[in-house]
């Protein structure tokens, strides 16, 4: 049995009938065709699937699409301006070499954006604690911390 949902993703309106058990991450990736958010684990511990839902960073692998009915979602694809101007956090990740394989990166950028929104001048310790829901196996996090700090200074 399916249920009708309607929501806004990156400023665009979507309406679909979905199975209640469809995870939001699968809805975003397979129904809405937005494959930037990734599934890195099943246990809500890696953060690769992080998107913004009504202004809050959440793990889209631990939410059913039906729960997002009526929500306003921003994914990594929605951060840059329509003309392609990167969000300052994206720019900072690029400049600071805060990514290698890139798989965790969309989630990292989405949670970093939230860290700086809530704390415009975070200490390194606060940045690291803020990143604790996201695993990166490549970078050792140091360049990610640099990126978040730099973006915060730039007023991201």
């Amino acid at each position: 049995m399916t249920r009708a949902i309607s929501l806004t993703i990156n400023g665009k309106h979507y309406e679909h009938d979905v199975e209640p058990r469809l995870l939001l991450i699968h809805y975003l990736r397979e129904v809405a065709g937005l494959t930037g958010s990734h599934m890195g684990c099943e246990t809500s511990l890696c953060g690769a699937c992080t998107v913004e839902l009504d202004g809050k960073a959440i793990k889209s692998c631990t939410m059913f699409a039906v729960q997002a009915n009526g929500a306003n979602i921003v994914t990594i694809e929605g951060l840059a301006s329509p003309e392609g101007k990167l969000h300052p956090m994206q720019e900072a990740f690029w400049n600071e070499h805060a990514l290698q394989c890139g798989f965790c990166t969309p989630g990292m950028i989405m949670v970093s954006k939230q860290i700086v929104e809530r704390n415009p001048s975070p200490t390194d310790t606060e940045i690291r604690e803020g990143l604790d829901g996201n695993i990166c196996r490549c970078t050792g996090y140091q360049h990610i911390v640099n990126a978040v700090r730099t973006a915060a200074k730039a007023g991201a």
Binding site: T35, C46, L86, W94, N95, L99, C101, I135, G140
Partner: protein, 775 residues
């Protein structure tokens, strides 16, 4: 922070932000899971919940009846498909036949038993739940030392001693070394199983085209060409009709230096059902069935003079192989033997490796592959020796280092170290961290009863794999430089980078050599239908083997460009620099772009010159390259809880010349995180029944941002003479250097309590128990 790019200035050696990144930071890169083909089906695999069991029966009827399920396959269906390939060989090696689906028996938890294919992945998951397998559980054995004990359950009933091989290597005269020794220190040291945990799990999309008799296979791999050769063989398809594509690959660390059962299985399924099929590994599966790393129990004995001169090192190495050999499983511990002398000048070694089957997933190459275990061993033994002799750990290292005038240095294990100044690197690390002052601080801390430790690791590693005789499938690499008629440049590399950044560093190299903008260069990789045969990415070889291949291909291009330049400028006195051929007599110039156009229009050709501007080079290294470094970690142990705080981490690495120091730093940081992970947190623990107790991120402690210290990175530079770029390789250096530095630091902290050694990971409880045991 990266510098911005302007042309003409040389780019090699600069911190340039990556060309790869725009697609990755905008979520528009394409990983295997992002691929969707018309009519694509989804596969979910039914796996053994038991470490060892006989399969009495498999009932697929309920699964097959589920609407949406297209097919269910079991071990009985896969006749004709070749088994999983092990590319390594050793004298007397026992190779169990490793079918892509279990036949009558399962050997480890996660062993694939059946596969359900459906129109939708949710239905496939429902179908997999409906497959009923009747198991007769038998006794498993998961600890390699228990597996070697008399009367242990046989993993493979045909080999009741559980030994896959015994490998011996001797160098020098060990009897004399031990006879001459004034002190011998012995220690059992383990290197626990680690789970590589690339953030992208494995995944495959297979697409069989019946009319063409061809298979396209997208797979998250580090070795697309080797995968193609192996899969063509397993599936009985002509190699030139198999196309393997490694699209964006989300990390590998050796775990994707393999060709797994699922890759052939998806090819088989697509051919059977006549539709594309996708399989995406869950994280749980990744823990259970993708290779693990390490898995050593090592018994070391080091012989020395009282003045600290090391005379020899003995090693008995019990390698936990798991139930099967994956691509390189048996070869990995032999790399440990090769690197067992570390950076030291002694010439006597004696090693025995016992490859042991267990009811666990196979071990294989994980970042460092054999060398972290060796380095941890020798660096721990040197520290234990220093403690025994009451010597400073830095002093004993200086005393035993191979000296700069000894290169090339032939080791007791048959290697030939290329270049180095080990003392200079250690000295730089000591100066950076303020070693003498730290020892004074430590003395004061000890008077207060605080447990402060200073740990040194001076590591060496062999990388840039490698000369072909030492690498099962060949150790060369290929590069093609294709200059288009517009003068834009397309580079094909046979390496298969997946985060290392060669789309950038190779473009830097080519931009410098050809005098074109980096923006005019595209680096392609990972598609066997586009790229000439290559070996792939592992063993820190992209830059050190793929780089020289590219360098020489660029030289061929430059030669040809000069020929056209001479023709167009009607002069023999022409140089090619900064993207222009210039006549040194007339001063007239012709640009690279004009020459490219002329080479394709071919209105006129230089003597003995063909049209076009393309060069391909296969480059074979004459030796490995041997990076080295010194890592020092300052830590403090909380006496009350055993918790460890890392106070400082200084890493001085010598990886030869650097194409892009920003990328080098990233490799060191990431390597350090994985090395600290082994030292402090990570452990793949099997219980006696074969259950992986740390089989999820809930239980397996991955390094997280708040757990990592700030790594203070710097370098010394000793170019490698092995290749024209003078590069050595950095992919694994951080992992190899960090682990023993961390453990030595904690052991140094605990030394006043008389604690000699603890095995990794140094969990708070383990440390606390040791402190209490000592008290």
């Amino acid at each position: 922070m990266a510098t911005t790019v302007t042309n003409i200035e040389k780019l090699v050696g600069k911190r340039i932000r990556r060309k790869e990144d725009p697609r990755l930071i905008t979520g528009t890169a394409t990983y295997v899971e992002d691929i969707k083909l018309p009519g694509m089906h989804h596969a979910v695999i039914v796996r053994s919940p038991h470490g060892a069991a006989n399969i009495k029966g498999v009932d697929i009827s309920k699964a097959a009846a589920l609407p949406g399920v297209a097919a269910v396959f079991t071990g009985a269906d896969i006749t004709g498909v070749g088994s999983v390939v092990c590319g390594a060989d050793l004298p007397g090696l026992r190779k169990p036949v490793h079918h892509i689906l279990a036949q009558s028996r399962v050997y480890y938890v996660g062993h694939p038993v059946a596969v359900v294919v459906a129109t939708d992945r949710y239905i496939a998951a429902d179908g997999a739940d409906l497959v009923e397998v009747d198991y007769e559980v038998t006794q498993a054995v998961t600890d390699p030392e228990k597996a070697l004990a008399e009367g242990a359950p046989a993993v493979h009933p045909e080999w009741p001693d559980n030994k896959a091989f015994v490998f011996l290597q001797k160098g020098g005269d060990m009897e004399k070394a031990f006879a001459d020794a004034e002190v011998v220190v012995k220690q059992r040291i383990t290197s626990q199983r680690l789970v590589p945990n690339a953030m992208e799990t494995r995944g495959v999309v297979a697409d069989w085209l019946q009319a063409e008799h061809s298979l396209t296979l997208f797979t998250s791999t580090q070795i697309p060409h080797l995968a193609r050769t192996i899969l063509a063989g397993q599936l009985g398809i002509d190699e030139n009709r198999v196309r393997v594509v490694a699209p964006e690959v989300g990390g590998g660390f050796g775990s994707k230096l393999n060709v797994y059962a699922e890759e052939a299985l998806m090819g088989f399924i697509s051919r059977k059902i006549g539709k594309p099929v996708k399989w995406i590994e869950s994280r749980r599966e990744n823990f259970l069935v993708t290779i693990h790393g390490r898995g050593h129990v090592d018994y070391f004995e080091i012989a020395a003079k009282r003045d600290g001169t090391i005379l020899g090192l003995k090693l008995k190495l019990i390698q936990d192989l798991g139930a099967y050999h994956q691509l390189l499983t048996p070869a990995i511990p032999t790399l440990s033997v090769l690197m067992m002398p570390g950076l030291y000048n002694f010439r006597n070694i004696d090693a025995e490796v016992i490859g042991t089957f267990t009811n666990c997933v196979p071990t294989d190459a994980y970042r460092g592959a054999g060398r972290p275990e060796a380095t941890h061993g020798i660096e721990r033994m040197v520290d234990l020796l220093a403690a025994e002799l009451n010597m400073d750990p830095a002093v004993i290292r200086f005393k035993n280092f191979v000296q700069p005038d000894q290169f090339p240095f032939p080791t007791a294990t048959g290697l030939n170290y290329d270049s180095g100044d080990y003392g200079a690197t250690l000295q730089k690390a000591l100066d950076t961290i303020g070693y003498d002052d730290l020892r004074k601080q430590q003395a004061a801390a000890r008077l207060e009863g605080r447990l402060m430790g200073i740990g040194i690791s001076t590591y060496g590693e062999l990388c840039a794999f490698g000369p072909s005789p030492a690498t099962p499938a060949g150790g060369w690499e290929s590069a093609t430089v294709r200059v288009e008629p517009s003068g834009k440049v397309t580079i094909h590399t046979g390496t298969s980078p997946h985060g290392q950044g060669q789309e950038t560093s190779f473009a830097q190299l080519a931009a410098d050599e050809l005098g074109v903008s980096m923006d005019d260069i595209v680096v392609l990789h990972g598609d066997t239908s586009v790229i000439p045969y290559g070996i792939g990415t592992f063993g820190s070889r992209n830059t050190a083997v793929g780089g020289p291949a590219l360098f020489y291909a660029l030289q061929d291009i430059k030669e040809k460009v000069k020929k056209f330049g001479k023709m167009l400028l009607k002069s023999e006195n022409v140089v090619f620099e900064n993207g222009k051929c210039t006549c040194q007599v007339s001063g007239k110039e012709v640009t690279f772009q004009t020459i490219a156009g002329a080479a394709y229009r071919a209105m006129q050709l230089p003597p003995d010159t063909d049209p076009g501007l393309v060069a391909t080079k296969f480059w074979e290294p004459s030796n490995f390259a041997f990076p080295f470094g010194a890592h020092i970690i300052v830590s403090e142990v909380d006496r009350e809880t055993g918790q460890i705080e890392i106070k400082r981490y200084v890493a001085v690495d010598d990886i030869g010349n650097q194409l892009n120091p920003l990328l080098v730093e990233g490799q060191v940081h990431g390597g350090a995180a994985q090395g600290l992970g082994q030292a402090l947190w990570e452990h793949g623990i099997y219980d006696d029944n074969g259950q992986l107790m740390t089989g999820e991120f809930m239980d397996y402690a991955m390094p997280r941002a708040s757990m990592m210290p700030w790594v203070e990175c710097s370098h010394t530079t000793t170019p490698s003479p092995v290749n024209p770029l003078g590069v050595k390789g950095v992919g694994e250096a951080g992992t190899i250097g960090s682990t023993p530095a961390m453990v030595n630091s904690v052991m140094d902290a605990l030394m006043p309590l008389g604690i000699r050694h603890l095995d990794m990971p140094l969990t708070p409880e383990k440390v606390w128990k040791a402190i209490n045991g000592a008290a």
